[in-house]
């Protein structure tokens, strides 16, 4: 039996900015049977999206398919002319993008975009297409299926757009569907709903396709088979159960290990009574002009108090928009709160960083999520690390040089990287430099704002291990902000759950199995598990879902 999709010896080349050509897909073979969903999993740069796109005979700007064949339903997508490719795209093979918010044209009504495929390929009358679209909206459990299509993309939420993108892909009943990280940009509670919707339409329409993701737990819910990729090569292929339970390749094992980080034996509970390093008292932070009652137009953090003991870690979790990053900026003094105060080491800190003395500034450091934007692209690693050394410690050249080497050793970067600029480093290396810069100040407290979110699972796990190790050596305390619950669970002694600017609960990692607040319950139960039956067995109280999800 020949399969629906046959990729043979696919080779794709990319041209770098400096004009060098590198092979990013190196002879990949892949088969997809009728009605089968195959997941492509791997870190960023492993070529998973490139392979998925090749099914449509498409390579992004700067990339070129240089060899091999991609047969989809008997047509070689590589060899077809541009016009013939266009005839297949959307009709036979459809694409569900990673960010539906960006993939919808802001100037066109949703319905017109959903049925555009029909308009282009003329597969059915438009009236019929509109009716079908509404049926799909209903099947994807979108609200107001009759009228949601009349809105513009900015008028619906991210989770809804993602499902609308699926409707857009399904409208012409394609044979093959490509899901390109379709839930990566969503909050976990929203992700559950979207995954459910995808799963039901996939089985209802017996769709075959590719599901690209870096999240093994998500893939486990949807895929029949998993292909593990690295550096443009297939490492391992197997059924979902095989890969999850009997991974053969070391890289797969590494990936699996990174998903379930080992939970350290926490220090004894008596330490909880340890001396407070940071105390945040009823802090409220907002944006925009102050109104007559002294409150800003938008209140992002509302009356939050928390306490971090010396040498201990506090996690702050919550979904996007809950105010966790704003709180971090308020503690660091970047965004002064309009009410409440911050006490550090027994002394009240100025609300704004401008009102703090250099020593206070030195002791509280913040590390930002995107090392790409936090590091000056024109400076070398040496400059980046040397600046806080001169600023806080007034170090002279020789001393500074020695300290930079030490710092690089601490974050486990080779000393040879000293003279490189950020653009010449990998994502994980950049984040380490970013972290070393905070260490250079000799702080007592480091606020980590989503520092692992932009990293691949394996790299993120390594960064977390590094954080733990440095904590043991340097007696640091961390405020660890993340939307990734497993990361927080792995490193923190206490966890604060935030929702819409409020602190709703504080729990310990041990208590995460039985949280008290309904939102925490919903949030924790929404985190995908590696168990392929997790989604089907997941029962969430619809009342809770309605109350807390802005789907």
């Amino acid at each position: 039996m020949t399969s629906l999709v046959q990729i043979r010896d696919l080779r794709v080349e990319a041209t770098t900015d400096s004009g060098r050509t590198i092979e990013i897909i190196r002879g990949v073979n892949l088969d997809i049977a009728e009605g089968e969903i195959v997941a492509l999993i791997g870190e960023s740069g492993s070529g998973k999206t490139t392979i998925a796109m090749s099914l449509m005979g498409y390579a992004r700007a700067g990339c070129k398919i240089v060899g091999g064949s991609v047969a989809v339903d008997g047509l070689d997508m590589v060899a077809l002319s541009e016009k013939d490719k266009a005839a297949v795209r959307g009709a036979k093979i459809a694409y569900v993008p990673q960010s539906a918010a960006a993939a919808f044209n802001p100037a066109i009504r949703i319905m017109d975009q959903v049925i555009e495929v029909v308009r282009i390929h003329g597969v059915m009358p438009l009236v019929e297409a509109r009716a079908k679209a509404k049926a799909l909206f209903r099947a994807l459990s979108l609200p107001d299926p009759e009228s949601i299509g009349d809105r513009y993309p900015h008028q619906v939420s991210g989770g809804q757009l993602q499902r609308l993108a699926a409707a857009m892909a399904l409208i012409a009943s394609p044979k093959v569907l490509i899901f390109d990280e379709p839930t990566t940009a969503l909050d976990v509670t929203t992700q559950v709903e979207v995954l459910r919707a995808f799963k039901s339409v996939i089985s209802a329409h017996r769709i075959a396709g590719i599901y690209v993701s870096h999240d093994l737990a998500v893939v486990a819910q949807i895929a029949d088979r998993i292909v593990v990729l690295r550096n443009g090569e297939v490492q391992e292929t197997g059924t979902t159960a095989d890969i999850l339970e009997r991974p053969q390749h070391p890289y797969t094992q590494q990936l699996l290990a990174a998903v379930a980080p080992d939970h350290d034996v926490r220090r004894d509970a008596s330490a909880a009574a340890a001396e407070a390093l940071l105390e945040v008292h009823e802090v409220s932070v907002g944006y925009g002009p102050l109104r007559s009652d002294g409150q800003p137009a938008i209140v992002a953090v509302d009356n939050v108090s928390l306490r971090v003991a010396r040498g201990r870690n506090l996690g702050i979790i919550g979904e996007s928009g809950c105010g966790k990053s704003t709180l971090a900026r308020a503690i660091a003094g970047i965004l002064p709160p309009f009410a409440g105060g911050v006490v550090f080491d027994g002394r009240e800190l100025g609300r704004s960083a401008r009102n703090r003395n250099p020593d206070q500034l030195r002791q509280v450091q913040i590390v930002f999520q995107h090392a790409d934007t936090a590091l000056n692209p024109a400076h070398t690693v040496e400059d980046i690390l040397g600046r806080p050394l001169t600023f806080y410690h007034g170090m002279a050249r020789r001393e500074r040089n020695a300290r930079i080497d030490q710092l690089l050793d601490m974050v486990k970067l080779p000393r040879a990287l000293r003279l490189r600029r950020p653009a010449e480093l990998s994502g994980g290396q950049k984040q380490r430099v970013n972290f070393a810069r905070a260490l250079a100040a000799d702080p007592k407290l480091i606020i980590c704002d989503e520092i692992t979110s932009a990293l691949d699972t394996v790299v993120a796990a390594a960064v977390i291990d590094l954080l733990k190790e440095l904590q043991r050596e340097l007696d640091l305390a961390y405020v660890f902000i993340s939307h990734d619950l497993s990361v927080v669970e792995a490193i923190c002694d206490d966890i604060v759950v935030m929702y819409r600017g409020r602190k709703i609960e504080q729990i310990t990692p041990e208590a995460m199995a039985r949280p008290e607040h309904p939102y925490t319950q919903l949030l924790l139960s929404s985190v995908p598990k590696l168990d392929p039956t997790w989604l089907d067995r997941l029962r969430q109280d619809p009342e809770q879902v309605r109350a807390y999800c802005q789907r």
């Binding site: 449509m56 498409y58 992004r60 700007a61 490719k85 266009a86 005839a87 297949v88 795209r89 959307g90 009709a91 459809a94 694409y95 993008p97 960010s99 960006a102 993939a103 919808f104 044209n105 802001p106 100037a107 066109i108 555009e116 495929v117 282009i120 390929h121 513009y152 900015h154 857009m168």
Partner: protein, 316 residues
């Protein structure tokens, strides 16, 4: 949302009004500061001091500047632009016919230049980094670098002097047939088209290229949309704001910036009138011409901004 659009548009109009008042103020005082006493200029060197004094009184020249400004502004609002010093004719009458000529030239140039420039700009964006795009870019940079008097003079030399195809100056009064019309307007229109197209081509190319790099355009491609559909339906509506702005800026140049072209071709437009007014120190006429140029500019940029507001789907 409708309410928000209305308030944004009203706010924009209010800004335009405030700008208009400030501009009138600036124009009035800038011309008032010109050296020389109007009464002396009018009466000539031989006038007796009494006569000069009398005239100053009659023309309210001794009043504080702010009163003169308000009186003049009130006149402008009522369509009374004052009386020309040079030939005692109402300024409105002097400008009237010239303005029609200027608008004729501007309109004709716009009709040719705008579609031409947009087509070239958009096609260059579609075929970016091809030979076509590169040649166009080089040609445009070349044209931008050549000043318009150079282009105009070369055109006169070539078509009027050597080839003898066209008249060197545009006698608009002698136009009877369409052929006459074409002959009279050909050179000024071509010169102006070249001058204003360059910027429009560059700006529309840049705006369209930017939208062509967006994920929703990639999505349209992956839906199987044709190139034309991608550009016309997906890219262009989102590039409209910057394009309209570039067009408005270029067109506003046609209203006030054509002094050189009108002078070279001896075309009887407002800009030429203003140049003549400067040489005769005809203050009311200079003020009126300047005000017309400024208001034209203001009208075009305001219109462009309002179109940009209306075309933004997020405000619908």
């Amino acid at each position: 949302m409708k309410h928000r659009i209305a308030s944004l548009v009203l706010a924009r109009l209010a800004i335009a009004l405030v700008t208009a008042i400030i501009v009138s103020f600036a124009v009035f005082f800038a011309t008032a500061m010109l050296p020389g006493d109007t009464a002396t200029i009018l009466l000539g060197q031989a006038a007796t001091p009494e006569a000069v004094e009398g005239l100053r009184k009659a023309m309210h020249l001794d009043d504080p500047a702010i009163f003169r400004f308000l009186r003049w502004l009130a006149g402008v609002v009522h369509g009374d632009l004052g009386v020309s010093y040079a030939n005692n004719m109402p300024v409105a009458k002097l400008i009237g016919g010239r303005l029609v000529n200027t608008l004729k030239l501007a309109g004709l140039t716009a009709i040719i230049a705008v579609p031409l420039a947009l087509t070239l700009g958009i096609t260059a964006a579609m075929l970016r980094n091809t030979l076509y795009d590169r040649c166009l870019t080089i040609a445009i940079i070349g044209i931008v670098s050549v000043p318009e008097f150079m282009i105009a003079t070369l055109a006169v030399l070539l078509f009027a002097v050597y080839l003898n195809w066209l008249p060197a100056v545009s006698f608009t009064s002698e136009i009877r047939t369409a052929y006459d019309f074409a002959r009279a307007y050909a050179m000024p229109v071509v010169t102006l088209t070249i001058v204003i197209s360059a910027q429009m081509i560059r700006m529309s190319r840049a705006a369209v290229v930017e939208t062509l790099n967006t994920p929703y355009v990639e999505m349209a491609l992956l839906k199987g949309a044709s190139r034309g559909r991608i550009v016309l339906r997906h890219a262009l509506p989102n590039a409209l704001g910057p394009i309209v702005n570039a067009v408005a800026l270029s067109l506003s140049y046609l209203l006030g910036g054509v002094i050189i072209v009108e002078t070279i071709f001896n075309y009887p437009g407002v800009a030429k009138l203003m140049v003549d007014a400067v040489s005769t120190r005809d203050l009311p006429l200079i003020q009126s011409c300047a005000i017309i140029f400024c208001f034209g500019f203001l009208l075009l940029t305001t219109t462009a901004d309002i179109i940009a507001i209306l075309s933004n789907p997020r405000l619908r």
